[in-house]
């Protein structure tokens, strides 16, 4: 596997928040992730990129403990997730935040209640303190003014920003983002990208971003892992990735229609399908 950032690896081995070693995972007999090795340094913003269905969201779910590795180990904040009890897993998750692909806001709660949800559930803070904290979180994403609206009244970009405020409500150590840029207009996309970077630095958190939006991600992340067909095919800093001559990375970065990922799905010959006699 081509390693485009060996300097980075030598640094992260000291202070890794996430360490995945020789991970194999599959649904039924179909192996989705094969021999994954991945490390995320504390305080960094790391992107996991790849085509739709390549296994990157599965990888994120394994890091969040929603799925269990079949082989290999997943270690988050120094704890092995394999065979962890539910109470231990919940204790660990209190230190994590996750933003889902379309926000996953609770549709029966207002924007304010969505952001305050974890504070109400997990803390014994007074209502006035919760109110102040919630408004600060909403202010950080520029949406203090929509606190009384319901999620159905928000645009896609606004819902994503509220979800970001909710994911950071308890100042998590690790924030996981599942396709945060999917379906956004260019302005919302830029806003979300900048917020992800700013919040990560302001909170002193570590973030893992699963995405296939190359240009926006490369602007904000520290390190990139490329996944293809369940295998990490390349890794490196954004500069190293941009300069990569690996055919898959090149095709992905520049959005070329044909390359290692063929344009045509495997099929019989055209002449055969049209019932023509091949010459």
């Amino acid at each position: 596997m081509p390693d485009l950032g060996s300097r980075h690896v030598s640094v992260v081995s000291v202070t890794n928040l996430v360490e995945i070693t020789e991970l194999n995972f599959g649904y039924g007999s179909r192996l989705v992730l094969k021999g994954i090795n991945l490390t995320v340094r504390k305080g960094s913003l790391v992107a996991i990129m790849g085509l739709s269905g390549c296994g990157k969201t599965t990888l994120l779910r394994l890091i969040g403990g929603q799925l269990q590795a079949h082989e290999g180990s997943v270690m988050v904040a120094g704890q092995h997730l394999n065979n962890m009890s539910q109470s231990d897993l919940y204790a660990l998750r209190r230190r994590l935040g996750m933003m889902f692909q379309f926000g996953a806001l609770f549709t029966d709660l207002s924007v304010y209640d969505n952001v305050a949800f974890q504070m109400h559930e997990h803390t014994s803070l007074s209502e006035s303190v919760i109110r102040d904290l919630t408004l600060m979180k909403l202010n950080a994403v520029g949406l203090r003014g929509v606190q009384s609206l319901m999620p159905s009244e928000l645009s896609g970009g606004m819902a994503r920003r509220v979800a970001l405020a909710r994911a950071t409500a308890l100042d998590p150590e690790l924030i996981l983002y599942d396709e945060p840029f999917a379906g956004l207009d260019p302005i919302s996309l830029g806003v979300i990208g900048q917020l992800i970077r700013r919040l990560n630095d302001a909170l002193g958190a570590t973030s893992i971003l699963v995405t296939h939006d190359v240009q926006e991600s490369l602007k904000i992340v520290d390190y990139v892992y490329f996944v293809s067909e369940g295998v990490i095919v390349a890794q490196g800093t954004p500069e190293q990735i941009r300069a990569s001559t690996l055919p898959f990375v090149h095709q992905f970065i520049w959005g070329e229609a044909d390359g290692p990922m063929p344009f045509h799905y495997p099929a019989k010959t055209m002449a055969n399908d049209l019932g023509l006699r091949e010459v």
């Binding site: 929603q66 897993l89 919940y90 889902f100 996953a104 806001l105 549709t107 949800f117 997990h122």
Partner: protein
């Protein structure tokens, strides 16, 4: 050929039976899990009260109107039949016992399943499809305790109250038709009813019956929603199964 077809049919019946038994078993296990995760519902009873509002209060119109009309039909048909035997004044007893013992719990449960049960299934199913349940899990909050158990207890508490209201409205319906419209003696209507309806044997048993229906309907509704495939078709299928089951 005939043997093959017979064997295939037997296999189909066996397969169908196994699936039904498996589904019942899974629902019972789910009910057990719900009960073990019910502490939050009782510690924060406001969560259950909210569900009583959605499942119970919002079902009031359909329950009361249906009860009224069922009682009216019983009053009319009961009086028609009883007058042939010269005992039309017993129509109050017929209306009350039919409603309190049988029709109240059963019809109210059917209406409750189709209105509130399907709504609970659809809500939980959509929460799953839009990853709200996963989001809750990732926040270290157990959806069984925070979403499923309050809805289950909201349904269980609402059901007997709705069944009692159904019966009460039915008796009023029977009274309106038999006494007010047709002219059966109102003293006989009420006094015979009072004498014939026993609190423990009739009313308490009816309440217990409706409580059991409430547990069954709420368990099935929450189970189907929680186990629904996270797609539009999955939620559609789950709501249908809730009403049919």
């Amino acid at each position: 050929m005939v043997l093959e077809s017979t064997l295939r049919n037997i296999r189909l019946v066996g397969d169908g039976t196994l699936k039904i038994v498996e589904r019942i078993g899974a629902t019972v296990v789910f009910l057990g899990l719900t009960l073990t995760q019910s502490a939050t519902s009782f510690r924060r009873f406001d969560l259950v009260i909210r569900e009583i509002f959605y499942a119970g209060v919002q079902s009031l119109i359909i329950i009361m109107v249906s009860g009224l009309f069922v009682g009216m039909v019983l009053g009319l048909q009961g009086r028609e039949t009883l007058q042939n035997y010269g005992s039309e004044q017993s129509v109050g007893v017929l209306v009350a016992l039919s409603l309190v013992r049988e029709l109240g719990p059963v019809v109210a449960a059917l209406l409750f399943a189709s209105r509130a049960g399907s709504a609970i299934t659809a809500e939980i199913g959509l929460m799953k499809a839009t990853e709200q349940l996963s989001a809750m899990e990732m926040m270290a909050i157990n959806p069984m305790a925070r979403v499923v158990a309050p809805r289950f207890w909201g349904g269980v508490i609402s059901m007997p109250l709705l069944a009692m209201l159904f019966s009460a409205m039915g008796i009023i319906g029977g009274f309106l038709v038999a006494v007010v419209l047709i002219g059966v003696d109102d003293g006989a209507f009420w006094s015979q009813m009072q004498a014939a309806v026993d609190f423990r044997h009739d009313i308490a048993n009816g309440i217990i019956k409706s409580l059991v229906f409430g547990i069954a309907v709420s368990a099935i509704a929450t189970f189907e929603g929680y186990e629904a495939s996270p797609t539009a078709e999955g939620v559609y299928g789950a709501t249908t199964r809730t009403v049919v089951s």
